[in-house]
């Protein structure tokens, strides 16, 4: 029973993600992503990690995606769905890499060489999670908070417009500013 549910959810997650990438309309894309995240949340629940499942729903599907939705709706970028789809050169590396990931996972599963050292699944209470988090990984928690702070500072800095030049027109044509090697004869 669990197995069947898992495979259904996994399929939903993968298809949702694929659609989120291929869909040109941003609002639709985000909704597909939310679907996918929900599926993943339930997978976590199946793995007896209710806390992670809840976080997945509250944080990712809830807070972040809603924020994305608001931003997209507020910016109102016209009709991006009428734009060109990216060239194959641009998305093929990503596809290749996901294939690599899948291939290596399959290898790991098939090759049965390695017994997974992770303890068998059992429900972990919140108390235990917190204990682990703050005793074993205290420095990591603090680091993440610091990182978020400075990511915020950086984003604010880069996003702030210079007072002297209000409203720079967005450069329309994607131009190659630098990079290409000079091919002098």
């Amino acid at each position: 029973m669990e197995q069947i549910i898992f495979y259904i959810l996994a399929a939903v997650a993968v298809i949702g993600t694929v659609l989120a990438i291929s869909e040109k309309h941003p609002v639709h894309a985000i909704l597909y992503l939310v679907t996918s995240l929900f599926a993943v949340a339930v997978v976590f629940y199946l793995l007896m990690a209710p806390l992670v499942a809840v976080f997945e729903v509250i944080l990712y599907a809830g807070a972040i995606m809603v924020l994305f939705l608001f931003v997209i709706m507020m910016l109102d970028l016209g009709h991006p769905e009428k734009g060109f789809s990216p060239h194959w050169r641009e998305w093929l590396p990503a596809l290749l890499l996901s294939l690599v990931s899948i291939a290596s996972l399959v290898m790991v599963i098939v090759s049965r060489h390695s017994q997974l050292a992770v303890p068998a699944a059992q429900s972990i209470p919140i108390r235990e999670v917190s204990r682990r988090l703050f005793q074993g990984h205290g420095v990591a928690v603090e680091l993440i908070s610091l990182q978020l702070l400075f990511a915020l500072v950086g984003a604010l800095y880069l996003g702030k417009q210079q007072a002297s030049s209000p409203g720079l027109p967005p450069s329309s044509a994607p131009e190659r500013v630098s990079g290409s090697e000079e091919k002098s004869p």
Partner: protein, 669 residues
């Protein structure tokens, strides 16, 4: 015991740093020159203390390795910053710091008002530092650092007047010739290190250690290759055939530089190096013969060119090449002490001669400048009659000339005679000895001739510049004259510490102090050579030695006599001679067309090769490789169009490619 020996190179380094960094700000010439000279004076003082300490020890204990710190260490390889104190290095530091100090003093007066005064003193101090490192270094690597350092300073100072094209060209020429030599040095050092380590498990580059284990080495064979490599290095640095042509061109530098670097110290580095590694050279009779022959040939060959030059500094330059030839002749004959002795006396009289010529040029330059004449201030044909104008310069110059000519009683006589006798009497080269001696003796005669020709043309006869300019000729300031007097004094008396046994016996058994002093360094080698002599130790009679000595003196006197006859008594003869044998004169005057030969044989093909490398290699290969890499990747299934296109997704391609290949290889292998 010698704990403070590291101060000797340190002082000039400090002087270099102060003048180099702050000189532009200081501006005051007295302060800059004072700092430069004082730094060398301090080194000289420490050197004196060192040699006194050394002399207070018994002969067998006169050897110390003073380690300052470890430079590099890795497995078997160990290189220290460490100094070797023994009689040989002590005599060298005395010459370098002593003569160097006098030349620094002289430079304060000579370089007065030159642009970049501070630069000059900074380079000069840097040179002193490198030279002291070269002579004090206790291992091959440190010696090589000094070896390269003096070379660098030499180019910088040859090209000191860098706005003059000839100066820049001369610097480049010296650079290239020295590179050839340095390549030999490095090749020799690597081969020696590897050979000793690989075959005898003696992984060391330290001279004392190498010397201790030298008995393991075979005679000839590999040792011949190694020593010939080292000797190639020596010919580059010490201007011997075939790499001598840079030295006369190096006269483009300021005269104190010619005196210090291209006469007294740097060019003798090759001789010193052979002396330092005598334990190696004695194990290859072939190399010794090559050294002796090259030395004798250079001595004779350069002397012939010297007879026809009109530029006062060029005459001295060829004379330097020739005298260095004598030193190599001594080294090649196994008479190491005699070679070093000549190195020392030569440093005295040649420095004096160069500085004297500098004083003359300085004075001429000012006089010609006053009357806005564009005549060459260095051309002896413009000089003459300076005796009365510059009496002190004349006197010191004359004393040094007598010394170099080998007149008995002066320093050059003792050292040169010792070399000629050793060349004749050594047991290594068999019949060749007579030829070597003959070449040396003829060269001695030529030396006496061209040196007195120089003296007569410069100081005697009528002054050949305009009378108006003549009035502006005057004696140099004391800061220039005093070093001349000191060096002239040394040229006269410097030889008395090394009186040959023959003469010493005559005057009541005065020993040869100098040879005795160097004995701890060379004794083992001399014993080895006596055992392995190819032709057995011949016992020559005292009469023969007297005879040879007399002959060389007579030859020198004949040389002087001819010079006197040609340039004082009947000055029309040289012109007639030139007219009678125009081809010969032209050949000698043009230095036997060696430069042209080198241009034809080496330089032009090299240029062609360079052009080929530039047109062919650079454009076709380098560009080809760069473009080719791009092309290969481009054609790689047409996946990646441009490697470095500037597009992020192209870059991610490269990364993806890397990950796929790495994972693919390891997981499926």
């Amino acid at each position: 015991m010698f704990d403070n020996v590291w101060l000797i190179p340190l002082f000039p380094l400090l002087g270099f740093l102060i003048n180099g960094l702050l000189g532009k700000k200081i501006k005051n010439e007295t302060v800059i020159g004072g700092i430069g000279a004082f730094a060398v004076l301090c080194s000289f003082a420490v050197s004196c203390m060192t040699i006194l300490k050394l002399l207070s020890l018994p002969g067998e204990e006169r050897l110390a390795n003073v380690k300052v710190f470890t430079w590099m260490t890795c497995g078997n390889f160990n290189a220290d910053i460490a100094f070797l104190i023994d009689p040989l290095s002590c005599v060298m530091i005395m010459i370098v710091t002593g003569v160097g100090f006098l030349i620094h003093i002289y430079s304060i007066g000579y370089m007065h008002g030159e642009e970049g005064f501070y630069r000059f003193f900074a380079y000069l101090n840097l040179f002193m530092f490198s030279m002291l490192l070269l002579v004090l270094g206790n291992n091959l690597l440190l010696m090589f650092v000094g070896w390269e350092g003096v070379g660098l300073c030499s180019y910088l100072l040859i090209g000191y007047y860098f706005h003059k094209k000839s100066a820049g060209d001369a610097g480049k020429k010296a650079f290239v010739m020295n590179r050839v030599g340095d390549f030999g040095f490095l090749l020799g050092a690597f081969t020696l290190y590897w050979f000793m380590g690989h075959n005898f498990n003696v992984w060391t580059i330290q001279f004392t250690e190498l010397g201790k284990n030298a008995h393991l080495l075979p005679t000839g064979g590999v040792v011949t290759v190694i020593t010939l490599c080292f000797f190639l290095g020596a010919t580059g640095k010490s201007a011997q055939i075939p790499l001598y042509t840079w030295l006369p061109d190096a006269m483009e530098g300021p005269t104190p530089v010619s005196a210090l670097i291209h006469a007294a110290t740097m060019v003798t580095a090759g001789v010193y190096m052979i002396g330092r590694m005598n334990f190696l050279f004695i194990r290859s009779p072939e190399t010794l013969m090559v050294i002796a022959v090259i030395g004798a040939c250079t001595a004779l060959f350069a002397a012939t060119i010297g007879t026809a030059q009109n530029d006062i500094k060029r005459v001295l330059a060829y004379s330097t090449v020739s005298q260095l030839g004598y030193m190599f002749l001594a080294m090649g004959s196994g008479a190491f002490a005699a070679g070093i002795f000549h190195l020392m006396t030569h440093a005295f009289f040649k420095a004096c001669l160069f500085l004297g010529s500098g004083a003359v040029i300085h004075s001429m330059h000012h006089a010609l400048h006053h009357v806005h004449s564009h005549d060459d201030a260095q051309d002896m044909r413009n000089m003459g009659g300076l005796k009365s104008k510059m009496p002190l310069t004349f006197l010191t110059f004359l004393l040094a000339t007598i010394a170099i000519a080998g007149i008995p009683g002066f320093s050059g006589f003792f050292s040169k005679d010792e070399i000629l006798w050793q060349a004749f009497a050594n047991p290594h080269h068999g019949q060749l000895n007579y030829l070597l001696w003959g070449m040396g003796a003829v060269a001695a005669g030529l030396t006496a001739f061209y040196m007195f020709r120089l003296v007569f043309m410069t100081f005697f006869g009528e002054c050949r510049i305009t009378p108006k300019a003549k009035d502006h000729l005057h004696e140099s300031p004391m800061v220039i004259v005093i070093p001349l007097i000191v060096l002239a004094g040394l040229s006269v008396v410097g030889g008395y510490i090394g009186i040959p046994k023959l003469l010493g016996d005559l005057f009541g058994g005065i020993p040869n102090y100098f040879e005795h002093y160097l004995e701890p360094v060379f004794r083992l080698s001399e014993e080895y050579m006596a055992e392995h002599a190819a032709h057995g130790v011949a016992h020559h009679s005292v009469a023969l030695e007297w005879g040879l000595m007399g002959t060389s003196v007579v030859i020198a006197l004949i040389g002087i006599g001819i010079a006197f006859a040609l340039y004082v008594v009947n000055t029309s003869i040289p012109a007639k001679f030139t007219a009678t044998f125009p081809a010969l004169h032209r050949a000698v005057y043009n230095k036997w067309y060696i430069d042209e030969l080198y241009d034809y044989v080496f330089v032009n093909p090299c240029k062609a090769l360079g052009r080929f490398l530039w047109k062919g290699f650079d454009v076709v290969v380098v560009d080809g490789v760069v473009n080719g890499v791009a092309k290969v990747v481009m054609s790689f299934g047409g996946i990646i169009r441009y490697m470095q296109s500037g597009f992020v997704y192209d870059y991610s391609w490269s990364m993806a490619f890397g990950v796929v290949v790495i994972l693919g290889y390891y997981l499926f292998k």
